[in-house]
Symmetry: C2
Subunit: 296 residues, 2 copies
């Protein structure tokens, strides 16, 4: 299966390398030359232009947002490089309504589409252990199985139509984004009370206040290390999709809005490329709290 991965960022790179490891002919495309070099070092076939591709059976899309996904699908020559009936697996987090719209357009061009947003972070992606929230026609899901097996630990098969995958991702991102902000709020309060932040993590991880994100991100705050695993800007985007989708349906999401406001403020202050846990810096600034690793 001739596979093309578009977008070699934290998740796409892991998926592409996992495909290489599983023995697929894997082409990788990114506008960042460093990512192409790293992919070549892992045994992949980097291309600097989609013109260099041909006979693609399966394309995995790992670009940043819906606009980029639409651009690469419908404003480049990508579709002309695909074999008839090729699989278009869109792993980008986007509004369910947008997933349905893109699917319709891809199918109208004679290809098959799987709505397949992913979760799990860069480390798991690199190990071929991401989670995929997938929906699409049974034949497409069947033919995608070898690729999904190569890149993922869990594939949640959520229905035959596009949109179901994106709806689940939306719910996951709501929770993930709020939980990171809650972890930041809790750690900032703990710092204000002169608590031992590593002890806080040890105790809370064993109590009812724990979350996947607390256990994963609170150590960044205790260590003062904001090297990005996932970034502030990802949650500006994803909680933006959550609140847009919700408000469009008159659905109340007050916690998502409160969390989004923190990510937006962090982004406006130039922290957009830092780890998402850097939202704590906004709270610390508002609270006159000194955090580990802070210069103030």
């Amino acid at each position: 299966m001739q596979t093309l991965v578009i977008g070699l960022g934290s998740m796409g790179f892991g998926a592409a390398v996992s495909c290489v490891r599983a023995g697929f002919q894997t082409i990788g495309f990114d506008i960042n030359p460093d990512a192409l070099d790293r992919f070549q070092a892992e045994g992949g076939h980097p291309v600097q232009s989609l013109d260099a591709c041909t006979g693609i059976d399966c394309v995995l899309i790992f670009v940043v947002n819906a606009a980029q996904a639409e651009s690469v699908l419908f404003e480049s020559n990508l579709l002309s490089k695909l074999n008839p009936d090729a699989l278009v697996i869109n792993c980008v987090t986007l509004a369910p309504s947008k997933a349905i719209e893109i699917a319709k357009n891809v199918k109208g061009n004679g290809f098959r589409y799987i709505d397949a947003p992913v979760s799990g972070g860069a480390a798991k992606a690199l190990e071929g252990r991401m989670s995929i929230m997938a929906s699409g026609a049974p034949d497409a899901m069947r033919d995608a199985k070898p690729v999904f097996d190569a890149i993922s630990e869990h594939v949640f098969e959520l229905g035959d139509d596009p949109g179901y995958g994106s709806r689940m991702k939306l719910v996951n991102q709501l929770l993930a984004g709020v939980h990171i902000a809650a972890a930041a709020e809790a750690m900032n309060l703990a710092a204000s009370l002169d608590m031992d932040l590593h002890q806080v993590i040890d105790v809370i991880s064993k109590c009812a206040g724990s979350s996947w994100m607390f256990e994963n991100r609170a150590p960044h705050i205790a260590d003062g290390d904001y090297t990005p695993l996932s970034s502030v800007n990802i949650f500006v985007k994803d909680l933006g999709i959550v609140t847009d989708e919700a408000s469009g349906n008159q659905v109340a999401t007050p916690l998502s809005e409160a969390a989004l406001s923190l990510y937006q403020k962090a982004s406006e202050l130039g922290l957009g490329s830092e780890d998402d846990s850097a939202v704590v810096k906004i709270l610390a600034q508002q609270s006159k709290v000194t955090l580990p690793g802070s210069n103030t």
Copy 2:
């Protein structure tokens, strides 16, 4: 060790029964006669008045809030019923500053004090498997060990002074209260998108959006069952402590405030005694979403 448990609610009842099971002479006091009957059925010694107590070595306080704890400690004849150097173990969730104030008063009366808020829920309490966030003098902690062993699975020893236990509980309740509200917000959004709510729980529980509270409370929403494990009013109280303590120190807690507002609205609408996950009904009402078990 002659032990007295004051307050036989969801956590206190479990602690009292666990003490009986461990072989302690255990007296239980509550103003609710049903709780006393149930305690007697488990082999405990219920009393309808503290006048019936004498020679107490260890008192565990499981009343609802700081005002009740102060009332029972300083406005009843409790202290006259304690042996010299008796242990006063206060398991009530209260502001750290209040824990320190109560400890000072108890010690001034010649007794020993452990600041010991608990976590884990009624089911674990009944199995003697709660978690205790304890701080107090080493000799008090040593002498309390048999009691802690009887009622808990984890004892976190957080320092020699009262206040450390309550600080940790404050951080836990911030996270727990926000995570329940986030679970409600996510489930309400999922319901608005016509998703299968049990499938949402299955998937999210394996993804980065999960939390202890999501896994525990989201099923209540999917099942439409708001039988209280812990109640809305508990979080009106506990997030009130969080936001009061934070605002007193000019510490920002925007997510706690957003969550508290939901619990307060739920309580005002008469849902205060329902399970805390009933905050989702406020969101559903605001969003015109029909939830499982809803009559509308």
